[in-house]
């Protein structure tokens, strides 16, 4: 086949442009550290990568929900623990001052303590963390218990999505814990006890002991529930962490490339480009070598 000058030059130019574009691609890969920069680089990888990226973002949101739930439940547990301590003290008082060996004055002093304890209970019922009142249910912006113990919350137990397909309660019912509506109304019980003590009415004092006992269990139950929910969150956390790790590994294999590999690719491509430029520069464009004017 005849080889003409135009053909030679054309071939060297074509080769040069091919090498140049693969050099630029290698450069981009090294700069971004990613093999898939555009969907056309690897359409399947781009599509899978998007799906994985979406899941990673979701897992992060789950993590934040777990944090929020944890914070709430920890605070709930702490508050209920203190409520438990209050209930224990109340029970002590009731049992102690049920004994008729105590007189009106002593019973009156005990009554005063009960009143204080009730105030403490109200305060505990109104525990808030980060602007959310823990025992108010959904209506958590305002303190759910007034000084008398009347409840203006809705007893709801808010839920959060903490893992794929897992929605758990991250609060407990203040209504249930404090017995407003059903169960033993702790505040009412405190009122009854303090009234009985003020009245120096031993029998009435004795009559509160059972309620108080039930109340103690009531609180313990709810605290137990909070504990179970915290465990669920802990399990969700480790599941989400495992899934995130897996996803990140998948993402890396799809999209990101080994930095060392990227840079050695780049060095190779640079070398090829330099060589190609040298070859091309030895071949003048047709016509110039012959000396004819253009």
């Amino acid at each position: 086949m005849r080889v003409t000058d135009a053909a030679l030059f054309d071939r060297s130019q074509r080769g040069l442009s091919l090498v140049r574009s693969s050099y630029m691609a290698a450069q981009q890969r090294a700069m971004t550290g990613k093999r898939v920069n555009a969907p056309s680089d690897d359409p399947l990888a781009a599509s899978l990568s998007r799906r994985v990226q979406a899941r990673l973002a979701r897992f992060e949101a789950h993590g934040r929900a777990i944090d929020a739930g944890d914070r709430r439940l920890q605070a709930t547990d702490a508050a209920l623990s203190q409520v438990g301590a209050v209930m224990d003290r109340i029970r002590q008082i009731a049992i102690q001052f049920a004994n008729d060996t105590y007189g009106a004055d002593e019973r009156a002093m005990a009554a005063a303590e009960v009143v204080e304890l009730k105030a403490a209970l109200v305060s505990l019922g109104n525990t808030e963390v980060g602007g959310q009142h823990l025992f108010a249910g959904y209506r958590d912006a305002a303190a759910p218990f007034d000084a008398a113990g009347a409840y203006s919350g809705d007893g709801a137990e808010p839920e959060l999505d903490v893992a794929p397909g897992l929605r758990v309660k991250v609060g407990v019912s203040g209504a249930q814990a404090f017995g407003v509506g059903a169960g033993v109304n702790l505040f009412a019980t405190f009122d009854v006890l303090s009234a009985a003590l003020f009245a120096n009415d031993g029998a009435s004092v004795r009559a509160t002991i059972d309620s108080i006992a039930t109340g103690v269990e009531q609180v313990a139950d709810v605290r137990g529930t909070a504990g179970v929910r915290m465990q669920a969150l802990a399990a969700a956390r480790s599941a989400v962490e495992r899934l995130s790790e897996q996803s990140r590994a998948t993402q890396a294999s799809l999209v990101e490339i080994d930095a060392v590999e990227a840079f050695s690719d780049l060095a190779r491509a640079e070398h090829a480009l330099t060589a190609a430029v040298q070859v091309a520069s030895m071949l003048p464009p047709p016509g110039l070598a012959g000396g004819s004017t253009r």
């Binding site: 000396g291 004819s292 004017t293 253009r294």
Partner: protein, 107 residues
Amino acid sequence: MADAHDEVIQELSGLLERERAAAVAADVATLESLVEPKRRLVCALVDGGAAGSAVDDLVRQSRANLELMRNLVGCLRSLARPVEGEPTYGRRGHLADVPAAQTLARI
């Protein structure tokens, strides 16, 4: 003597015919190869002192051949002349001054 002359004249006539065909075909190689034989034959004729109408024919052939060869040389001169020229067309279209427009002129 006339016979010997006749032979030479015949040969020369034949050679001039071959010369004519080579000139028509622009066959320079053949033309070159005919130079020596032609020289010998003409010398032989001159030495023999030939004359007459036969010589007229030879003269006529020679002149015709020379005409053809001069024309051939003219063509070759043009073909062999290296001349700087512009490309005949480019992005702006056909260049008006086309030094290479070659013409076939029929006379």
